[in-house]
Amino acid sequence: MTPRVSPLLNDLERDALTELVNIGVSRAAASLRKMVGGEVLLSVPSLEIIGHRRAAALIQEREGDELVAVRQEFGGAFQGRALLIFPRANGMELVRAVLGEELTPAEAAAMEDEALAETGNVILNSCLATMANMLERSLTMSLPEVLRRGGLSLLQTAEPVEDEGLVLFLYINFSVQNRSIRGYIAMVMDLSSLETLKRLVGEFIDRVMQDDIEA
């Protein structure tokens, strides 16, 4: 049995992080609903913390090399890079769902990167900002960039990182305008950032447990 969870986080911390991401993607969904003007549902069924090699292998194994990603750097109490990754076909689907069916393929292709960057920004920003908000920390984010690469190079940093580099790996189900789109969120962080995250999650858990007492 392969351990599903890094020993870095215990069950409860993993649950809490999943909830945090859920809150984040819920906010993102709300934003997307406004953008699209239709039903958008996002959910995070699972979360893993794995080495980035394995994360790359995971994506490679499932999706092949035809990937498209939106990447944003983030900094603050914890820092790293966040990627929203789609199989290339799914990326186009998302663009069509967001921009509407009436576009011609040529128009859609022309606007693809821009639409992807915008959508990715909404999702990643909502996610990370909500997380930071919930963890009562501030967070700064860079502008999004669109990448088309294979899995491994997507996850690798420009400057070589020690092998300890871990990835908070999330699988996301999108349901946009009744289209099923799958994608991944990968948050590449170094160990110290993860340690910080772990501590902050612990504090979050404590706060949640206090909910009734406030009531």
Binding site: E61, N173, D211, A215
Partner: protein
């Protein structure tokens, strides 16, 4: 009893305290247990108020005044007994007032024993406890109503469970109120009003299992903070205490006003489902079964961990459809077909190959799935399992290959069998148990001259030789009875009428006999030829042996005869010359040669075991001492002779002359084995043989005397030893030995009831041991041979009839008898002898040869003579122990024997002895004399 008296007596009985009691308003009653019936002696106002009985109606009455027919008799009896025995007690009884109304009465009895100057009495305090009793009944009713309610609730719960939804809730986030439906109230143990009007939101967690609390609080916390979807499984505790697994699904509903946002949801009892899932999980893990669920149109498939393992993928809960189908062999159907499904309720099973990404190995899998309509979303779900069938596929493949091989082998074997059937030189037949031939192979034509077609349907027994038909039928019957195999030989008739010997091996199977027969006619003939050849060889060997014997004997005899004939010729010459002084020399020489010839024939007879032994108790040591000098002389100067004679040697019974002869022979053999000289040792010993040893030696168990002759000579090879006792076997050059020596000793030892053994090795000398049975007694001293008495003259007219076909013998015997003064009558054979016997000539003795020409032997002549002349004595002179003629056992008293050759003196003394003895008891025995 008067009232006043009773009232007046109360203070006297109980003093002032009782009086206070009586006025207290309690219902009081006093009885007198000392009187029969324990009558009431006092009641107070309280009693009258309670029961309606005034004192005048109560006092003097039985204490059981208040009892009614429905009063419990057992309690009443217990009360009465306590009163009578003066025991305190408390009893609850259903009593009757004066107006007949019933009431529940608690009666407390206090007996007061007699005191100074006052008698004893019993006091009872009565309390109406009807109200208490009725309250209890109400409680019982309440309880039963509660139970009914519980049952109802239980039924409700069951109904809810059955419908799936257990409860639904509505959580107003800003207001912090939690509302629920009736089922929510039942699950949470709230009243309907509470559930409707709302309870604090903390209530939501009140029934959640402690182990699940933190997890669910986190999830709810997420919703409260903006998460949209809530879907959790956890355990709750129902009001009746049971623990159930529920799956709660909820959603956050945003409102314009943030505080108006709500969190609504439902929970479903999934306890059974959990159990099933757990069992399923175990089964999946154990059976290597992976499960999946695919909602048509989605890009991903929900999968179990085992599913990933079967495919060789990283464990995951959801896998992209593309990922899964990419593993499938291009020629095989996809694991999940993204094409529009055929419709609900459709079951699909496919087999396909995958290449495992982790090992690169190719495996065979089976996928079995069913299309189901999702109740909530109306989606069509494809739910199913996969499992690895590589092993069984390989098994199938192996089996198929084995099967092919087997078929090939069967074909080959069939071809083999056919070849065997066609080409075999041996006769092969298939027949029914009654002998009807159902198949025959081509060899039948070669062996029996009948073609296969000719044999079909024929009765085998028509062909079998009548001599073997019965035996063959027995074998057939045995096979029919289940004997596995039969082997037998019989003769079968060839088409040309000749007979062939066939050796059969037959086995029964499937109601038929399968027989293989080999023609052994030639073999049988060869065996016969061999037997004849062996017979001829044996004859040739016999002739060779006879030739050798004859040669040896002829050589010895010719030497002896030369001496005899030469001496006789010289005798005649000297007599004719009148040189009588030299006659005696030749006579002695002739006699010596003749005696040696006699010894030679004696030895021959001994070898043939037809010598007549004269066994006598013998002291072997004395015999050896007696012949020691002779041996030494025979051995010559180069050979030393020693004796080693056991002290207290047992006596034995044997023919001493033969023993002497045997020892001499052994010594001569020993000498011949030592051409360069050496040592001969003659040793004696007592030997007791036990059963085992005797068996080993080929002798009977018992005591024996052993005589051993050892030499230090050349020894014998095992081959020579093995043949040492064969007649005519000799290692000496032809002419030097007859090869009869050892054979003769062997015959002597066996005939004496003993044995002879050789111990020898080449170059190490030889020891020959003769074993002779122990005898009880030693010989008596005076048993020395009776030397011929000096011949004396016969009485007047005594006549002897001589019967012998040899004229020389007749002549000699007649002359000897006439020398002695007897009359002698000669007869050449039985017929001539009978004439004499039938005549009236005086006859005192019949001297006859045993073997005679002309049909009658000596014994028959003697018998005939005894018939004509009872008391006639007979002396048989024979060169041959014709046991059969003379009778094997004891000789009749009138029968006497003298062996040829014999000394003239021996004949003379024997004849005189017989005639003299015959005369003594019966002088009238003579026919002639009586005449």
């Amino acid at each position: 009893m008067e009232l006043g008296t009773a009232a007046a007596r109360l203070p006297r009985l109980g003093g002032p305290v009782l009086e206070v009691f009586a006025r207290s308003g309690l219902s009081l009653l006093i009885t007198d247990p000392g009187q029969p019936g324990n009558p009431i002696t006092y009641v107070n106002a309280g009693f009258t108020e309670m029961t309606g009985f005034p004192p005048e109606e109560a006092i003097g009455r039985d204490c059981r005044l208040l009892e009614a027919p429905d009063t419990d008799p057992a309690t009443a009896a217990a009360l009465a007994a306590a009163l009578a025995e003066g025991r305190p007690g408390e009893f609850e009884l259903r009593h009757r007032r004066r107006d007949g109304r019933r009431f529940w009465d608690r009666v407390t009895v206090v007996p007061v024993p007699p005191g100074f100057n006052r008698p004893g009495f019993a006091m009872a305090i009565l309390t109406d406890i009807t109200a208490t009793w009725e309250e209890g009944a109400a409680q019982v009713a309440l309880r039963s109503r509660q139970e009914a309610l519980d049952k109802l609730q239980e039924r409700l719960r069951a109904a809810l469970s059955a419908s799936g939804v257990m409860a639904s809730w509505d959580w107003t986030i800003g207001e912090r109120r939690l509302r629920g439906d009736a089922r929510f109230a039942a699950v949470y143990g709230l009243t309907a009003e509470e559930a409707t009007s709302g309870v604090p939101t903390a209530t939501f967690f009140s029934i959640i299992h402690p182990d699940d609390q933190a997890r669910i609080r986190l999830a709810v916390g997420g919703i409260l903070r903006g998460a949209e979807v809530f879907s959790k499984e956890y355990r709750i505790r129902l009001p009746d205490g049971t623990i159930r697994w529920v799956h709660a699904r909820g959603r956050r509903h945003e409102a314009e006003d943030e505080t108006a946002s709500r969190f609504t949801g439902t929970m479903v009892d999934v306890t059974e489902q959990k159990r099933v899932e757990e069992r399923l999980r175990i089964a999946q893990t154990a059976g290597g079964v992976g499960t999946f669920e695919y909602t048509s149109g989605y890009g991903t498939v929900s999968v179990s961990e085992q599913f990933c393992q079967v495919l060789g993928l990283q464990p995951a809960q959801d896998l992209p459809l593309r990922t899964i189908n990419a593993l499938i062999h291009p020629d095989d159907p996809p694991l999940i077909d993204p094409a529009p499904p055929p419709g609900a309720g459709c079951i699909r099973q496919v087999e396909f190959r995958i290449t495992r990404p982790d090992t690169g190995e190719q495996r065979w899998l089976t996928r079995r799935g069913e299309f189901l309509r999702d109740i909530e979303t109306d989606d069509l779900r494809f739910s199913g399992v996969i499992y690895d069938i590589t092993a069984s596929k390989r098994g199938e493949e192996t089996l198929r290959r084995l099967n092919d091989e087997l078929e090939a082998r069967v074909a080959e074997r069939t071809a083999d069998r056919n070849r065997l059937w066609r080409l075999s030189a041996e006769l092969m037949l298939v027949a029914r148990f009654d002998g009807t031939i159902t198949a025959a192979n081509p060899a039948s034509a070669a062996v029996l001259g009948w073609t296969e077609i000719e044999l079909l349907g024929r009765d085998l027994f028509e062909l079998v030789h009548p001599d073997e038909a019965a035996a063959t039928r027995r074998e057939f019957a045995a096979l029919a009875d289940g004997a596995p195999l039969a082997r037998f030989d019989n003769r079968c008739r060839r088409q040309d009428g000749s007979w062939r010997w066939i050796s059969w091996s037959a086995a029964a199977g499937e109601g038929l006999i399968n027989a293989v027969g080999r023609d052994i006619t030639a073999a049988t003939e060869q065996a016969e030829a061999l037997r004849q050849a062996e017979e001829q060889l044996r004859q040739a060997q016999k002739m060779e042996a006879v030739g050798q014997l004859t040669g040896g004997i002829a050589h010895d005899f010719n030497n002896l005869l030369t001496g005899i004939i030469g001496s006789l010729q010289m005798l005649r010459t000297r007599v004719a010359q009148g040189r009588l002084s030299q006659v005696d020399r030749y006579v002695t020489a002739a006699q010596g040669a003749a005696n040696r010839a006699a010894a030679l024939t004696h030895r021959l007879l001994a070898f043939s075991r037809r010598q007549t032994l004269a066994p006598a108790p013998t002291d072997v040591n004395r015999l050896i001492i007696g012949m020691e000098e002779l041996v030494r002389r025979t051995m010559g100067p180069a050979i030393r002779v020693e004796t080693a004679l056991a002290a207290e040697l047992w006596p034995t019974l044997c023919d001493p002359n033969q023993l002497e002869n045997a020892l001499l022979n052994l010594c001569i053999n020993a000498r011949d084995a030592m051409p360069d000289g050496g040592l001969v040792t003659i040793a004696t010993a007592n030997a007791s043989l036990g059963e085992a040893e005797a068996l080993q030696q080929g002798m009977a168990a018992g005591d024996y005397v052993s005589v051993a002759v050892s030499d230090t000579g050349t020894g014998m090879s095992p081959e020579v030893m093995a043949r040492a006792f064969d007649p005519f076997f000799t290692t000496k050059p032809i002419g030097q030995g007859t090869g009869l020596g050892l054979s003769m000793i062997y015959g002597f030892a066996k005939q004496s009831g003993g044995q002879i053994r050789i111990r020898s090795e080449l170059g190490c000398g030889t020891t020959m041991s003769i074993f002779l049975p122990r005898h009880a007694t030693f010989p008596t001293e005076e048993e020395a041979p009776m030397n011929a008495e000096p011949a004396s003259r016969a009485g007047q007219g005594e006549t002897v009839l001589i019967v012998d076909d040899e004229p020389t013998v007749r002549m000699l015997v007649r002359e000897v008898l006439e020398e002695l003064g007897y009359h002698a009558v000669e007869a050449v054979d039985g017929a001539a002898a009978l004439l004499v016997l039938q005549s009236d000539i005086r006859l005192d003795l019949l001297v006859t040869d045993v073997g005679l020409p002309g049909g009658m032997n000596g014994r028959q002549i003697a018998d005939a003579g005894r018939a004509l002349r009872p008391g006639l004595q007979a002396l048989f002179i024979t060169g041959y122990a014709e046991g059969a003629a003379l009778g094997q056992g004891q000789l009749e008293p009138w029968m006497h024997i003298l062996h040829k050759p014999f000394e003239v003196e021996a004949l003379a003394s024997k004849v005189q002895q017989i005639i003299r003895q015959a005369e003594k008891p019966k002088p009238a025995a003579s026919f002639a004399r009586g005449a």
